[in-house]
Amino acid sequence: MKRRLTFPAIGIALISALALYVVKYDTRRIDEERRRLEHEIADLERAIALDRAELANLARPGRIERLAAAHLKLAPVTPDQLGAVGDIPWREEAMPPSDGKEH
């Protein structure tokens, strides 16, 4: 009776030891993976910060102005180019019907 109980117990102990071993090393592997990923994320974040700084530097208003003057046929918006939607006249064909006297 006692022997019958002991061997399964040893078996279970062995299996659980093995399982523990596997889990432990899995954990360690995953932990290493986590650290690797964190490192990669930190690297990427630094790269993003650097890129954002470079982008901001390239998008300086003074630089854009210089480039636009040299390469584009565009100029800054002037006040007389701004208007309200209501100020836009109706197109001829879309004109509301009128009695003709106003034209």
């Binding site: 022997r3 700084a53 530097n57 208003p61 208007g83």
Partner: protein, 568 residues
């Protein structure tokens, strides 16, 4: 509760004699235990051997994973962005090169190849640093570009290594030095908004090069507006052959500074440049007698007290004699003028007469209420204290009314005018963006003048630009209903006012029917040129410069032009 505890002492009792419970060795149970024990031991040894094998096999790889951790602590700072979210200042991680001189093998070779790879490095200094074998650590270059670091790495010189550090960079523009300030080599803010960030405890001590996780600090300036102001003022200095210029654009409702330029502009983050005397911030640290722009305040004071109305008559026929002073007009009309005419012809005589109705005491109280008699507190530090008359005599009262005898910072003057035209609510200039809606949410602001006075002042400022003969006519921008006042002040040198050197200024408000923005333009020592018909008065230089600035900035700020009212 007492019952379950009762058996415990008896169990402890039996535990005292292990022999009784487990039996003596030699019994059948003992063999089994010996077997179990040896199995356990065997398993233990197997585990230890397994671990040893594992370490032997992959130990090297694991140690490769062990990177060199940066020692010491750094300071991580939040980003600073402009009101539209453009990046003004940020921390980036850059490699810093250091050397262990005791490990340098071939000094000549190292110096030669290093200075070839890094042309910025001084070869003589490099040789001195590297030849000191007593030292184990010497910085060669802090905060270098990653590409440069790669080049040095490829040289393969022993004794050189890198440490990654946080470095502050200012990618946003070249002309923000007066606003952003700078940080020291350890990333501590030493001037400008950077110092403010430290003062607000927004920086973090970090291990190694870890960027701050705090939300960005949002400045009130608009980088595009700042650039426009900078380039227009620079152009004005050239056009009018002036010595220097400064200017600002402010939101009259919130006090937010949209743009602030003091020429010559210089890049942020440059400690040496910041401390140069010529880079002194003329808007915040310089105090000036601003001249006739000050009449704006005198008129607001008189309207608010009820001592004057726009149609009240003031006699400007004869110069006014006060003690040894004679107050005269620049372009005298030599006739009685209405208050409005006094303003738009910028009559000193008329304004002085108006001031004498106000009286020295009420004048002082009013200027004090506007914050002009005390240093202006800002995020960039306290403004320069005003230089006021020693005794507020009758004569000083009269001269102060048209902007002489009291020297103030242009920023505090701009804030005073904004506080009047915005409906009379006193505002404090701020260099941080004000969240929409929060401006009026806090304690009710001080009312410095009544809304009725504010309306009268808007109309008066508008009349000075729109009506024929007004000194501000050249500041008109179609669609934006600009109102403003000119100022042409003699510059006081040693022993009083000398020569024809003037400081011209123009304070403008737009649009006058519902003021949103105020601009102030200052030009030091402009000369008469062909374009100005040899005139040096503000109406010929500061006013047209203001028009150019508003033409470019107003659309950017989202102001819709309105052409319904071309005349007034």
């Amino acid at each position: 509760m007492a019952d379950p505890a009762a058996p415990a002492p008896s169990m402890r009792e039996t535990g005292k004699d292990p022999a009784e419970r487990h039996g003596a060795p030699g019994r059948p149970g003992g063999r089994r235990r010996a077997l179990a024990l040896s199995l356990t031991l065997a398993l233990g040894f197997a585990a230890v051997s397994g671990q040893l094998v594992r370490l032997a096999a992959i130990g090297q790889m694991a140690s490769l994973n062990n990177e060199v951790r940066a020692i010491g602590r750094g300071i991580a700072r939040p980003d600073i962005v402009d009101r539209a979210g453009r990046l003004l200042a940020t921390d980036i991680v850059l490699p810093s090169l250091f050397a262990d001189p005791s490990r340098i093998i071939d000094l000549d070779d190292a110096v030669e190849r290093l200075s070839e790879a890094l042309p910025d490095l001084d070869p003589a200094g490099l040789r001195r640093d590297l030849s000191d074998r007593e030292r184990r650590f010497v910085w060669l270059e802090r905060g270098m570009h990653p590409d440069e670091a790669q080049k040095v790495l490829e040289l393969g010189i022993p004794g050189l290594a890198f440490r990654e550090e946080l470095r502050r960079v200012y990618p946003g523009g070249d002309g923000t030095g007066n606003l952003l300030g700078y940080v020291d080599i350890d990333n501590r803010g030493r001037a400008g908004l950077e110092r403010y960030v430290d003062g607000q405890d927004l920086v973090d001590l970090v291990d190694g090069p870890t960027r701050s996780e705090r939300p960005p600090v949002v400045a009130s300036i608009d980088l595009a507006a700042q650039h426009i102001l900078d380039s227009e003022l620079t152009a004005a200095v050239r056009r009018y052959d002036a010595e220097s210029a400064a200017g600002l654009v402010m939101d009259v409702r919130t006090g937010e500074i949209i743009a602030a330029v003091s020429l010559p502009a210089y890049p942020a983050g440059d400690a040496a440049a910041t401390l140069e005397p010529r880079h002194l911030d003329r808007l915040l640290i310089g105090t000036y007698e601003l001249g006739s722009v000050f009449k704006t305040l005198t008129f607001a004071n008189a309207f608010d007290l009820g001592t004057a109305r726009p149609d009240k008559i003031y006699d400007a026929t004869e110069p006014l004699k006060v003690g040894r002073f004679t107050i005269d007009d620049f372009h005298g009309r030599h006739r009685p003028l209405t208050a409005e005419e006094v303003f738009i012809f910028s009559s000193n005589i008329g304004t002085a007469r108006m001031a004498s109705e106000i009286g020295a005491e009420r004048q002082q109280a009013f200027l004090d209420r506007l914050g002009l008699l005390a240093p202006l507190p800002t995020e960039l530090g306290e403004g320069a204290p005003p230089q006021r008359p020693e005794t507020w005599s009758e004569a000083s009262m009269l001269t102060v009314s048209f902007g002489h005898g009291l020297a103030v910072t242009p920023l505090s003057f701009a804030a005073a005018v904004a506080s009047i035209v915005n409906g009379g609510r006193r505002i404090t200039p701020t260099f941080l963006k004000v969240a929409p809606g929060s401006a009026h949410g806090e304690a009710p602001p001080d009312q410095v003048v009544t809304p009725a006075t504010a309306r009268l002042m808007r109309d008066l400022l508008r009349a000075n630009v729109a009506k024929p003969g007004g000194t501000g006519g050249r500041a008109a921008v179609p669609g934006y209903r600009v109102g403003g006042k000119t100022g042409t002040a003699d510059i006081a040198g040693k022993g009083g006012y000398v020569g024809s050197d003037v400081l011209t200024s123009f304070v403008a408000v737009f649009p006058t029917d519902e003021p949103r923005y105020l601009s102030l333009v200052l030009l030091w020592k402009p000369k008469g040129t062909n374009g100005t018909g040899d005139q040096t008065a503000a109406g010929h230089n500061a006013a047209p410069t203001t028009a150019r600035i508003i033409t470019r900035i107003a659309p950017l700020l989202g102001l819709e032009p309105d052409y319904r009212d071309p005349g007034m």
